[in-house]
């Protein structure tokens, strides 16, 4: 008869290392000063509700939409075609199989297909800009999309968000839930971005920057980038049916 204590080895979920969590509120990002909780957060033990998560989430969230660049035959999005792939891993480097990976991004002009984005940059009738897949047996995900554009943040003392891609990853537990963003190598705007630089640890920032794949490996059809994502937790890889 296994007990939870046996099923849950100590150290399965360690506290996050310092410097990884964004420092909040963020200077120059006014919304964070009105939304961020002001009272101290209450550290709680990882009980069963925290260490578990929906094991069959794809039954609720349909997966398999991975071609954002060519949503239908003959309808090609504007911009630089881009292949975006990588692995979802746990802290031990094990692949997380069957994780649900959601990707969304602005179009090549830096505008989102979202009713809240009313900036006067053009929408692209052939680009909605989101997709959802499950990782395969090696923890891999892949999307075919276009490189997003930069856009200004409409605040006093504005700044430009560098081109970036949003990721939402739903892994094996509530504790491993991750919403993050990915940036492109070599863009000077990365260092000016108040969201990326809210991470105190420069190494944590560097880990949010994708790697470009050399053209000799991908040919002349599209740009290619890879980006691995590490979810919190060890050993946290239940087999997906």
């Amino acid at each position: 008869m296994d007990t939870l204590a046996e099923a849950l080895p100590p150290g399965l979920f360690a506290p996050l290392p310092p410097g990884i969590e964004p420092a909040v509120p963020v200077p120059g990002y006014p919304n964070t000063w009105t939304h961020t909780p002001a009272q101290p957060l209450i550290r709680r033990p990882a009980t069963r509700t925290e260490v578990t998560g929906p094991a069959e989430l794809w039954r609720k969230l349909p997966c398999g939409e991975s071609n954002l660049a060519v949503p239908a035959p003959g309808k090609v999005a504007m911009g630089q075609l881009m292949h975006m792939s990588g692995r979802v891993l746990d802290e031990d480097g094990r692949p997380v199989r069957g994780a649900v990976v959601e990707l969304w991004q602005a179009n090549a002009a830096g505008r989102y297909f979202h009713p809240i984005d009313q900036r006067d940059a053009p929408l692209d009738p052939n680009f909605v800009g989101n997709g959802r897949v499950r990782t395969d047996g090696d923890g891999r995900y892949a999307f075919f999309t276009i490189k997003p554009g930069a856009y200004p943040v409409p605040v006093k003392d504005t700044w430009w968000r560098p081109p970036h891609v949003h990721f939402s990853v739903l892994g094996p537990s509530s504790l491993s839930r991750l919403v993050t963003q990915m940036y492109f190598p070599g863009d000077p705007m990365n260092e000016w971005d108040r969201i990326l630089t809210s991470l105190p640890d420069p190494a944590a920032r560097a880990r949010l920057i994708a790697q470009q794949v050399h053209p000799s490996e991908v040919g002349d059809g599209w740009l290619a980038f890879t980006h691995d994502i590490v979810l919190r937790g060890r050993h946290a890889t239940p087999e997906a049916p």
């Binding site: 849950l8 033990p45 009980t47 989430l57 989102y112 880990r207």
Partner: protein, 207 residues
């Protein structure tokens, strides 16, 4: 589970970032905020009491948050999770996924249709029935973690090892309020106030 565990944490976790204001509406499908069925085409669970959990998300000054994204996660009506880390998983309600997602409208309002969860025994102590809620949105650089308990269970709540970590004077803010019935279904109200003085801010947790 493998027998041995390698030395801790060779890879640091990827840092979290804000979900931003533009989490796609097109990611939502009918039934995402209905936990009583696995998806819109699936039959509803028959094991437990269906309830509505409603509330508003507000920021400093009580201003409603538009397009905040909420995710709910909870045990089934018998306190079980269909997950390898629950020793009782084989008795779990397979018509109940336990997870749902909602977004807030211009009034900051959200709603989940779900089952009244069951409590369970945990090494940390007996957990009272509860729903874990994650709030994400523009201006929130980190996920905000709240837990809704229920007024039906005062004795269980008083013994819950997580609720007991909340300063006594703030505990009432983490218990949903009974708010009548709608079509024979009990409604519970759980408002989430992101930022304010200790007596008004919802208690939030850190894992």
């Amino acid at each position: 589970m493998p027998d041995s565990i390698p030395p801790a944490g060779t890879l640091p976790p990827t840092a979290q970032h804000t979900i931003g204001p533009f989490f796609p509406r097109t990611f939502f499908t009918e039934g995402d905020n209905d936990l009583t069925r696995v998806n819109a085409a699936a039959p509803p669970s028959t094991r437990g009491e269906t309830i509505l959990l409603r509330g508003r998300v507000t920021r400093e000054g009580g201003v409603p948050c538009l397009n905040a994204i909420l995710e709910a996660w909870q045990a089934d009506a018998a306190g079980r999770f269909n997950h390898p880390l629950d020793p009782g998983r084989h008795g779990a309600d397979l018509d109940f996924l336990g997870w749902g997602r909602a977004w807030t409208d211009a009034e900051g309002a959200f709603e989940f249709r779900t089952l009244l969860p069951g409590g369970y025994d945990d090494p940390a102590g007996r957990r009272a029935p509860h729903v874990n809620l994650t709030v994400m949105g523009a201006g929130l650089m980190r996920r905000v973690l709240a837990t809704a308990f229920f007024p039906d269970f005062p004795a269980e709540n008083a013994a819950d090892p997580v609720l007991n970590l909340v300063p006594a004077e703030r505990r009432a803010r983490t218990v949903a309020r009974a708010a009548g019935e709608e079509g024979g279904i009990r409604v519970f109200r759980f408002d989430i106030h992101l930022r304010g003085a200790a007596e008004e801010e919802t208690p939030f947790f850190e894992d």
